[in-house]
């Protein structure tokens, strides 16, 4: 092997042709390469010209940031952003007693803090679990009351805390359940397999709205007299059951993508089923399905807004309630743009987090 000549070097490398670089080169190749491309470019520029400046004028130049609804109406020139600051506490916390709204506020801060803390891999230790348990207890006390805090009925919960509650716990509970369903669907035991198939197909076959209706209207009919289950909890369970079915199918795709050899290598070391799944198969399969799982989590997060139909006052419903106030009627564009931004920030955070995890878990195979 060593007999081969070792002084063999690659020949000198060449620079790319000069005509394809620079701003003009870029413009020519990307925007004006052919006559119809040039036409399209000009049409797009014209569309932007007629739509962007008026929007900027409406949103920023002629807009009101502190005026009352009446003043906005009289001027009638631009956006009335003051609808947000003037109603922010109702939008954020709904019917939670006004004087106590620092409590849900603190709970949200705590939750977001925990989420941010958990996104760093170096914090993924056993202690993280204890932090979460402690955090959950504190958040529960803050929301419900106790330890000297005045009790607040869960029927008064609303706004951002409710949206976050439904989505964060919905998603964290749905994911493990989805994994169990996916494993069950692959089981060798026919009873377990068909149970999982029936569950997944049934749940996927109905819209979330109908599940929510069932949880709020149909389910209580079957309860004995005098027994009630918290409405938020019922909606939460419906969201978990619904999302889990979708997660299960995505995870199943990941499991089926695993090479047979991985199972065989694990088995031939003497690992049992549980160890094989936990140590070998799931870590790889779940990594493969990060992108589709995140899509499902994002859409599940947005779907929590469907709880408006069973009269839970989540972020969207509190905003709509503000729009029902005569003073602020007619400013729905501003309000919905704001809510869209809140949702966008959350969803964007989710998807950028997933990209980060994907990068970190990449081991080059």
């Amino acid at each position: 092997m060593n007999a081969a000549p070792t002084d063999l070097q690659p020949t000198e490398t060449l620079k790319p042709p000069a005509a394809s670089v620079g701003v003009l080169g870029w413009l020519r190749t990307n925007l004006f390469s052919t006559w119809y491309n040039s036409l399209l470019t000009l049409a797009v520029i014209y569309l932007l010209w007629v739509s962007i400046p008026p929007f900027v004028r409406w949103a920023f130049v002629d807009s009101f940031w502190t005026a009352s609804g009446k003043e906005c109406l009289e001027a009638d020139t631009g956006a009335c952003w003051s609808i947000i600051p003037n109603n922010i506490r109702f939008i954020m916390f709904g019917f939670y007693p006004y004087a106590e709204q620092w409590r849900p506020g603190l709970a949200v801060v705590l939750l977001v803090g925990l989420l941010v803390f958990s996104q760093f891999r170096r914090n993924w230790k056993k202690s993280l679990l204890y932090y979460w348990l402690a955090g959950l207890v504190i958040m529960g006390i803050l929301m419900k009351g106790g330890l000297g805090l005045a009790p607040v009925e869960s029927t008064k919960w609303g706004g951002l805390p409710l949206t976050l509650l439904l989505s964060v716990f919905g998603l964290t509970a749905a994911y493990p359940l989805g994994i169990v369903l996916a494993l069950g669907r692959q089981s060798r035991l026919p009873a377990i397999r068909s149970l999982c198939v029936v569950y997944i197909e049934l749940i996927r076959g109905v819209p979330l709205i109908s599940l929510l209706f069932m949880s709020s209207v149909v389910f209580p009919l079957f309860l004995p007299e005098g027994v009630t289950v918290n409405k938020i909890l019922r909606a939460q369970v419906a969201i978990i059951l619904f999302t889990a079915a979708y997660i299960a199918e995505v995870v199943r795709g990941g499991l089926q993508g695993m090479a047979r050899g991985q199972y065989e290598a694990a088995e031939s070391l003497g690992l049992n089923y549980y160890q094989t799944m936990r140590l070998i198969i799931l870590p790889q399969a779940l990594k493969i399905v990060i992108p589709p799982s995140v899509s499902i989590l994002i859409s599940a997060f947005k779907d929590t807004s469907l709880v408006v139909i069973i009269a839970l006052y989540d972020l969207l419903k509190t905003t709509q309630a503000v729009l029902g106030n005569p003073e602020w009627m007619g400013f729905s564009a501003e309000a919905y743009i704001f809510i869209a931004l809140v949702y966008f920030v959350c969803c964007y955070y989710l998807s950028s987090f997933s990209r980060k995890i994907e990068r970190e878990l990449d081991t080059g195979y």
Binding site: M1, A259, G261, Q262, E264, A265, A266, E267, S268, L269, G270, L271, N272, Q275, L279, I280, P283, Q284, K287, L361, T363, G364, Y365
Partner: protein, 257 residues
């Protein structure tokens, strides 16, 4: 049984076998892939199994650690019979190492974690001790400096040597090799065969499915030739290569040598 002159395939001479297969049959659906296999493997014996593709040689060794299930006959490994008893299967798998054609390393784990996984979870060895053992075997397969890398960063030959080390960490009584060099570039075959030769010198019991006839000549105690799911001929390497008895063996050897 085979009515030919050679009926025992060298099995009768084996005393105290570590693997004993008697009258074993296996079907894939309707296809009778293994037909009436009788094989005894002695302790520290090295057997090379060769034959055309589809002859059932891989399936045979995969039955020994129950990656494939046999439907008739008996397989006893180190005194334990392979049945549907999952505890026995796991016990046998822990004692029988296997090296695959496509390495099958765990790509999400570093090399060292690939090696310590079995000892820690199956043998319940403390992590520190498992890592020491792992480093010992990595040095043995001449790849210790790669311990912290991931399998995807290694060449095929290196990966296969890691796979061998991974099996050795379980301190197996038998090693099965399923075409360990077939997926390798020619220049990497030697580094893997060298490791296997070292292993043979130390007295490891080995069953090797391979087309490397040079390896068979220098290492094997017995060479088995299989075709159509049967053991056609078995002999010591010298007689097997120089004086094959069966016409089918002669034809096979004339094609590959």
């Amino acid at each position: 049984m085979n009515p030919d002159a050679q009926t025992d395939f060298g099995n009768d001479a084996i005393e105290d076998p570590i693997i004993e297969i008697t009258g074993m049959h296996k079907w894939f659906g309707e296809f009778h892939v293994l037909q009436d296999i009788d094989l005894k493997v002695g302790r520290q014996e090295r057997i090379v199994i060769c034959g055309p593709s589809g002859s059932g040689k891989s399936t045979l060794i995969r039955c020994i650690n129950r990656l494939e299930e046999h439907q008739r006959g008996q397989i006893v490994v180190d005194g334990i019979e392979l049945t549907n008893n999952i505890k026995n299967i796991e016990k046998i798998r822990a004692e029988v190492g296997m090296v695959f054609q496509h390495f099958n390393l765990f790509p999400h784990l570093t090399i060292i974690d690939n090696l310590t996984l079995g000892p820690i979870w199956v043998r319940k060895v403390p992590r520190k001790e498992a890592e020491d053992t792992a480093m010992h075997y990595l040095e043995k397969v001449r790849i210790a400096e790669q311990a912290q890398k991931f399998p995807g960063q290694l060449s095929g030959g290196q990966q296969q040597r890691v796979a061998i080390a991974r099996s050795l960490c379980m301190a197996p009584k038998v090693m099965l090799f399923d075409e360990p060099t077939s997926a390798l570039d020619p220049e990497m075959i030697k580094e893997v065969l060298d490791v296997m030769i070292d292993l043979a010198r130390e007295g490891m019991t080995m069953l090797v499915v391979t087309h490397e006839m040079g390896f068979a000549k220098s290492v094997a105690h017995r060479v088995l030739f299989m075709d159509y799911g049967q053991i056609v001929e078995a002999n010591n390497p010298e007689d097997f290569f120089n004086n094959p008895q069966h016409d089918r063996t002669k034809l096979f050897l004339s094609q590959i040598l």
